[in-house]
């Protein structure tokens, strides 16, 4: 993966994900960080949004932004809601760090009609090359730290994500593939050329 960090690279997926969100709908953001995305949704689409993050400092930033946030375990929060309580659950740049990804994603599908998952494709050729040539852990924008300082990460590929969906009878209703720059669309051989993928899942 490219290591130059442009502001666009951090927001382009946010733009695409927000396009799929209806005005005045309700959204749960898993791994909401500092609430930048939800703040944008609340301002531009008047959504009822709530974020969840385990980091107290980040939840503090959400408070400053006026974004409702829940500090703690996302699985525990999700259990507190009835079926289809939300219109959409967003899981952007979070899925690779989930302790039990299938449980969380299936729970997300219980909570909402649609689930948006944005994830980094570790099958991208540069990741493959990096691993092949150095044999080392892959550094990414999302997880830019050396292994000994990084959170545990599942290096998933697009093909692996598709097979997860197939196995659980999850319908993928939308797919957006972005290239290694996360900006220009990736047109073919996605598992090799796509750097960042955004899927909409329904069940």
């Amino acid at each position: 993966m490219s290591t130059d960090k442009t502001p666009d690279k951090r927001t382009v997926d946010m733009r695409i994900i927000s396009e799929w969100i209806e005005p005045n709908s309700s959204v749960l953001d898993l791994g909401c960080g500092r609430g930048v995305f939800l703040e944008y949704l609340i301002k531009t689409k008047s959504v009822f949004g709530v974020g969840v993050d385990w980091d107290l400092d980040k939840v503090g930033s959400c408070i400053k932004r006026g974004v409702p946030a829940y500090q703690g375990d996302l699985a525990e929060l999700m259990k507190a809601f009835p079926d289809k309580f939300f219109d959409r659950v967003v899981c952007s740049r979070t899925v690779q760090e989930l302790i039990n990804p299938s449980a969380v994603l299936l729970e997300a599908l219980r909570l909402a009609d649609a689930v948006t998952v944005g994830f980094l494709n570790y099958g991208h050729w540069r990741n493959r090359l990096h691993h092949l040539t150095t044999g080392n852990h892959i550094l990414t924008e999302i997880n830019p730290h050396e292994w000994y300082e990084a959170r545990p990460t599942h290096p998933i590929s697009i093909a692996e994500f598709e097979s997860f969906c197939a196995r659980h009878n999850i319908t993928v209703t939308r797919r957006v593939y972005l290239g290694g720059d996360w900006e220009t669309p990736s047109k073919r051989w996605h598992n090799l050329l796509c750097g960042y993928a955004i899927f909409e899942m329904k069940q």
Binding site: L56, V59, G60, K64, Y70, Q71, L77, F81
Partner: protein, 381 residues
């Protein structure tokens, strides 16, 4: 050098300094939830900062079981013991008195100047004692609302409080939804659970079984001091944590020496608890302790309103609920439940869990990460 120069609570930047209390006398009949009526009541309260022109900058502080209206500042130039939340309230502090008009009132049923069991019943000319109506969290809040009306405050920017104060905060948002814009309940619960009722019952029995209690009709100068001190000692343990006590006292001996093979004070923690018990009997009325612990026990929002969601149905305040990792009296789960129910009602609610080792009383402790949360929430537009 005079005393004022020496007292940092007067001279240090960020201190409110000298404060004084005021009394609000409500002269109309007031009917409690238990159906009983008193001809009027007094609430003792303090205010800090100034009400702005739009009269929309009031922050109401609700105190806990053993707290009172004196939550910041000092009473005299020699006073070294500031109000109970002096670290939180003051110019430039998280609850900033340069920006907010802060009000804190002693609860109805209290013993620090407000009408309570020790007050004189106008009809009999004697103290109410156990003839005082049972006071609930709802009664406390309705009485505070009358004080707000008296102060001509048209809306509250925020209501903030921990423990029993947190219960009042929730009650405020439920009872007066259009009046309250923000709430910060800390270390609290929506339903007083079995363990908490059990602890309260032991405290009450310590008082009631003290022969000096005399069916509640004790001489104000005497009274069940032993029972009240024991109740306080036991309750105080529930406000701390294993880790916090270990760090503060460990097995330290009172005199740093060897064990004495006696039942007198050997350990520092014993000395501390006895001190807590002794200082409490000098400032707190035993009957108020009975009444307030009962108010806690009877607090059950899910039962009162059908469900916690139903209780929150009309709430319009945005909420910041804060739990503390080491609080085992009102543990994080009970604070989280409040947020879950608010969110299920699609209310604007945030939950923050502050990692602190001081147990239930963590909300009273000097803690920069707690300050940041409260400041951000109160200041956010």
């Amino acid at each position: 050098m005079n005393d004022a120069d020496e007292n940092p609570l007067l001279t240090r930047k960020g201190e409110i300094g000298l404060v004084r209390y005021q009394d609000f006398d409500y002269d109309d009949p007031f009917t409690f939830e238990d159906g009983q009526t008193i001809p009027g009541f007094r609430l003792r309260y303090e205010t800090y900062g100034r009400l702005n022109k739009k009269r929309d900058n009031t922050v109401l502080i609700c105190h806990a079981l053993s707290g009172d209206h004196h939550c910041a500042g000092v009473y005299s130039i020699r006073d070294r013991k500031p109000g109970w939340w002096n670290n939180m309230i003051g110019p430039g502090k998280p609850i900033d008195t340069e920006r907010f008009f802060v009000v804190c009132s002693n609860c109805l049923g209290g013993c620090q100047g407000s009408t309570g069991p020790a007050s004189i019943n106008r009809e009999t000319g004697k103290p109410y004692n156990l003839d005082f109506p049972f006071v609930t969290i709802g009664d406390m809040v309705r009485a505070q609302k009358l004080l707000m009306d008296h102060l001509e405050i048209p809306e509250l920017h925020a209501v903030v409080g921990g423990s029993m104060g947190g219960m009042q905060v929730l009650q405020w948002a439920i009872e007066y939804p259009s009046y309250v814009r923000r709430i910060i309940p800390l270390a609290t619960t929506s339903r007083h659970g079995a363990q908490s009722i059990a602890f309260n019952e032991v405290g009450r029995q310590a008082i009631i079984q003290d022969p000096e209690w005399r069916g509640g009709n004790y001489d104000p100068e005497a009274g069940p001091k032993v029972g009240l001190a024991i109740a306080r000692m036991m309750a105080h343990i529930t406000y701390l944590s294993d880790k916090g006590m270990e760090r503060k006292f460990g097995r330290r001996r009172r005199d740093g020496g060897d064990i004495n093979f006696s039942f007198d004070v050997d350990f520092e923690v014993e000395r501390y608890l006895r001190y807590q018990g002794q200082s409490f009997i000098n400032r707190f009325d035993a009957n108020t302790y009975l009444y307030f612990t009962r108010a806690l026990d009877y607090f059950d929002l899910p039962a009162t309103y059908g469900s916690l969601e139903a209780a929150f149905r009309d709430v319009s305040a945005i909420a910041l609920v804060i739990g503390f990792t080491s609080d085992w009296l009102f543990p994080p789960e009970q604070n989280r439940e409040i947020v879950h129910a608010l969110l299920r009602q699609r209310k604007h609610a945030t939950y923050a869990e502050v990692p602190m080792d001081f147990g239930h009383d963590s909300f009273l402790v000097d803690a920069p990460n707690l300050y940041r949360l409260i400041m951000a929430f109160l200041w956010e537009q």
